[in-house]
Symmetry: C2
Subunit: 184 residues, 2 copies
DNA sequence: GGCGGAAATGTTAGTGGCTAACATTGAGTC
DNA sequence: GACTCAATGTTAGCCACTAACATTTCCGCC
């Protein structure tokens, strides 16, 4: 268990988080991260395709797609996407909410990383779009609903990361509520 | 009028669009653009802060803010933002729709540029958020509504750029309709 | 215990985006 | 024609990232 590669990956990740906390994301180079992990810059890029990928990853896509497909087809696409995203996030309950927040905080404070985060959700957007389209929604409307829900979700996540609340799922609920049940 | 700087800026822009059409965005370096414009790479970066800025710019923010503030305050934030964005886009009617499409098409096909486009809308997001908050909406809900509307709008714009339709405002209408008047 | 082979890492070299410090040219002004 | 200030050029460098090739380290197998 825990092969050599996996251990180096871990060392790189913790070294990166330390350095980001000390000097910030932009003030830390990939070579410095590698050095602290006792490894070469090349090795760093073998384990992480980019510096940004240290902080933005998105392994939750299949769950979201499935949850959306289970929504009643008579609902409008915004409702289905919102409800699906909500239940998917409730189900998985990230192992360590605090660690998620640490990473998101860095992202929220670094413009270049916010762009990378959006890029990273391209796959999620495609998953949501397909799930909605399989429920009878036109492909065009499905794309738009996916864009809207992800726009709201990303904003809510970054917003939450800057607060002191530890209730992540409540923040997501509130965000999707603005979309679904619009109160004046 | 049309000082020297402005003329070089124009030459750089047309040279860039030509090269992008020939070799694609990623296959074109800033130095090559500069060379075709008869200028140095340094000069290029003096006129454009980044290679991406050749294609993504967003001078429409003030209009959007004003249009949102004129919406009736009793409406929910999603409606106000959507209506405001719609009327703002209708008012300005970009001088050359076809030129907008040419640029957006390149953006739509280049992942790195889509990220840059989102980054570029950060200012617009702030404008929408402030306009909504000034109408009594909580700051948190305003941010989320702004994220959702911009997510939908950006998706619609990129989608439209890949079609043959020349009716841009209709595409925007359809997109915001998915958010506002949700039909099953 | 040593041995072979593959996985993991290192070396070297390069491209492209972007920046800074300083020198040079250009165009209009008196 | 000298002065001046904007526009451009020169040089040098940092950082993210990639490719081709050499080297080490682990691990099972005999």
């Amino acid at each position: 268990m825990g092969g050599r590669a996996e251990r180096t990956r871990e060392r790189l990740l913790t070294a990166a988080l330390e350095l980001f906390a000390e000097r910030g994301y932009d003030g830390t180079s990939a070579g410095e991260i590698a050095a602290r992990a006792g490894v070469t810059e090349m090795t760093f890029f073998r384990h992480f395709p980019s510096k940004a990928s240290l902080l933005v990853d998105d392994p939750y896509d299949p769950l979201i797609g499935a949850a959306i497909r289970q929504q009643p087809a008579k609902l409008d696409p915004i409702s289905r996407a919102a409800k699906g995203v909500r239940t998917a996030w409730q189900e998985l309950l990230p192992p360590s909410v605090e660690e998620v927040r640490v990473r998101l905080r860095i992202v929220a404070r670094t413009p270049a990383l916010r762009a990378a985060m959006i890029s990273g959700t391209a796959a999620t957007e495609a998953v949501i779009t397909d799930a909605l389209a399989s429920g009878g929604t036109s492909h065009r409307d499905a794309r738009i609903a996916a864009g809207a829900v992800l726009g709201a979700l990303n904003t809510a996540l970054l917003d939450w990361s800057l607060t002191d609340s530890d209730d992540l799922s409540q923040a997501i609920d509130a965000a999707l509520d603005v979309l679904e049940n619009r109160h004046g």
